[in-house]
Symmetry: C2
Subunit: 512 residues, 2 copies
Amino acid sequence: MSEPAKLAVIDLGSNSFRLVVFSYAEPDETGRAWWRRTDEIHEAVRIAAGQDEDGTLAEEPTERALETLELYAHFCRATGVEDVRPVATSAIRDAANRGAFLHAARERTGLEVRVLSREEEARYGYLAAVNSTTLADGVALDLGGGSMQLTRVDSRLATDARSWPLGAVRMTERFLPGEKAKGKQVKALRAHVAEQLAEAAWLERGGRLVGVGGTVRNLASAAEIAAELPSYGVQGFSISRAALDELVERLAELDSGDRASVPGIKAARGDLILAGALVVQCVMEAGEFEALEVTEAGLREGVFYETLLGDLDPPLIEDVRRASVLNLASAYGADFAHVDHVARLALELWEALGSAGLHGCDPLERDLLWSAAMLHDIGTAVDYDDHHKHSRYLILSAGLPGFTPRETGLIGQLARYHRKSFPTEKHEEYALLSKHGKRVVNVGAALLRIADGLDRSHCSAVSNIKVKVGNHHVTIKVLARGDAELELWGARRQMELFTKVFDRTVSFEEAG
Amino acid sequence: MSEPAKLAVIDLGSNSFRLVVFSYAEPDETGRAWWRRTDEIHEAVRIAAGQDEDGTLAEEPTERALETLELYAHFCRATGVEDVRPVATSAIRDAANRGAFLHAARERTGLEVRVLSREEEARYGYLAAVNSTTLADGVALDLGGGSMQLTRVDSRLATDARSWPLGAVRMTERFLPGEKAKGKQVKALRAHVAEQLAEAAWLERGGRLVGVGGTVRNLASAAEIAAELPSYGVQGFSISRAALDELVERLAELDSGDRASVPGIKAARGDLILAGALVVQCVMEAGEFEALEVTEAGLREGVFYETLLGDLDPPLIEDVRRASVLNLASAYGADFAHVDHVARLALELWEALGSAGLHGCDPLERDLLWSAAMLHDIGTAVDYDDHHKHSRYLILSAGLPGFTPRETGLIGQLARYHRKSFPTEKHEEYALLSKHGKRVVNVGAALLRIADGLDRSHCSAVSNIKVKVGNHHVTIKVLARGDAELELWGARRQMELFTKVFDRTVSFEEAG
């Protein structure tokens, strides 16, 4: 791996200013890029506070904003980040005195703040959504403090977009300024949003709805907790319309100061969350979306993706799921020769047992096995002992954009059971899986063990396998380059779970 | 970091053959070495099974042993490990036909098996003990399947050593061959061991007792579970004499086949554990040791330390605790300039508050703060988000030789609370700490936050601090190289926990 490049994105939002540092390596000769967030500073500047009717930024928040920018500029200089991209959205874009603010920012920090047009802001939200989910057809929603952007997506391309001043801060100040949200106020807010949304007829073309932004993340977190689901972040989580309706009802009953008491809602967002939730609800109704899928990526990631994939127009990651898995594998220094090989063998077993009608899994779940095969050993970065458990921890902690939390959980379980104990009801996380989820883990772990055994020496000695599935017995013919004694030994040691899961004995034969 | 070297140690024991691969970098110009286990294969060969009275190895176990060795040799070739050290202990050393075995091993595998003399075996156990614990004066106990070695340690040096054929396999076969252990048999075993131990008068010189080997690890695990302590391995765990007596009583009541039902005792060791526990009990009685401290290192690590520290005689790690911390920090690519600096600032704060009689911690607990300061950011290797929690996970998972489990737990808690939420009774692990443990975490985390804030830019801009402790207020004077605006901002943002813990406000002043 070459020395990573660094990019700082400074997002001058209406609610907060946030600096995020990305470290990344552009695609190498094998096409593998990797990236990760490596630092972050957040200040609740609330630059829009006390903004005039005509949008003039008030003195105190302006000074707070400039001091924060000075600090961020200083941070970038001190930590050697040269590529710094400050971008401003709605509050500054719409400010009557924006010229003065930008001038002061340049004078005091040396930073050239780029004010995003509504179209550009929408575009970054769209890039964040399509590069961190599998959204192909539908709508990307980006709800900020000042504005909301919706982008129509067809075959992953943005085909239409609009921005409205319907952000959570603005809607709160205009419609829900008091402690209590009165029924009449809520009604007025909803009517206003619905009227505005009527301008986007393409909302009704359906498909999936993917949301980005802090409001959406907080709502997902609250819905996830309310559903008593195990939580490792909200990446890929889907809020149903019914769940959102319930959440809105619950929030509307609380005083503004008490809304952060709902688990999942952050303290700094308690006063804004109801207005934000109502706006999202209106979008779901207008487009008749049954669910809102959430991604943790946002405007800042959009700016980052544009840099990482600068050569492409539009800058789209070809296969988001695949890229997520490879990114995580790279981050922990995976032995790609080994894991690529194990993945190939595991998938051959999967196909053979699938053709024989034996595994009972969905063809789409093949991806989960591939992902687990690529990631099964990343836990060795923690410690060799119990590395299967560490792999699970790393997968769940870092997350896998493009997968739902359920899928990420299954990949984690597959990695966890690639060695040592078999899946058992005694293990809480396994016990909580659905019947089908357990089947996926049993089947995948059984195949992964054999595939891993067949590359015990990590040198791809087994060039191919041929699987013959009988009624009581499975024969695996092994074609090897040179001596495969260790691989046969490795596979034989790992065949017990296979025998149990498929109710068939198994034998390995070295082909001439 | 340069490309690591690899060493495989093959331990041909009486109970099992185990191959362990160590990857390591010898000390660099800063004196920092690092190492970790990166692979392991284990086969329960039981070469001593059915051994004759005169010690002739039986045909079947011999063939099993040779096949296993072939496999291991093959593994080393396939994975490119050139430095391979096969060492044999008691069963092979004492075999009448050992020449034939060694010859066959050489012919079939190309490996020159080195038969350790009793003295050499004792020495490696001693090296494992003193290099993975803080043992300075006392006895190192190494209990294997065939033999037991005791080494007298004075000022970390081995001053006397003895080996006896009192291993767990031998004692089981000789005294406890049946399903049930009769009182008479137990008595006979104890009398035999006591008689043998009388030869080592230096046992009575006291000090600490540190144990290595699988029996000892299993006993520690069982005692830890019985005491309902949170378990992240047994490194540094101390079994009291009373706890061992209880465990022996419990095991003696069970049939041989049921002993592995005691949580902590592994299935493959159930039949041997009682004899092993009785031998350990006799040693504790003979030397009047109040506790047995356990280390996870053993013969294999002894061989490895000799390689890593080959220039030193004896090959002793100068400061085991320090080396463990640096090893872990290196493994996760710590930014040493930053963490060294944070550690220094944190310790200055510690001293200042200690002098003022404010922190209420033991001077020895300073080490815990230093360790946490060095390790606080290692979790960023998992993910930037929640990296404080990941740091805790990595510390507990990998373990820290030289520290007790309690201390390792406290270091983990200190890292966990270096940012974001304050320590709270709502967090289970914190709630389970003793009152003093909580104080250590509160104090350490409060200081660590400020020290970390004072190096927010990671470039050691703050060259020194001067702390003035008043009755209601603490003033921290900051001497900086150049501009320290970011560091002051960082520290101010992190002062709230300090204010709470020390019941004093705090201010920062930039010194001219």
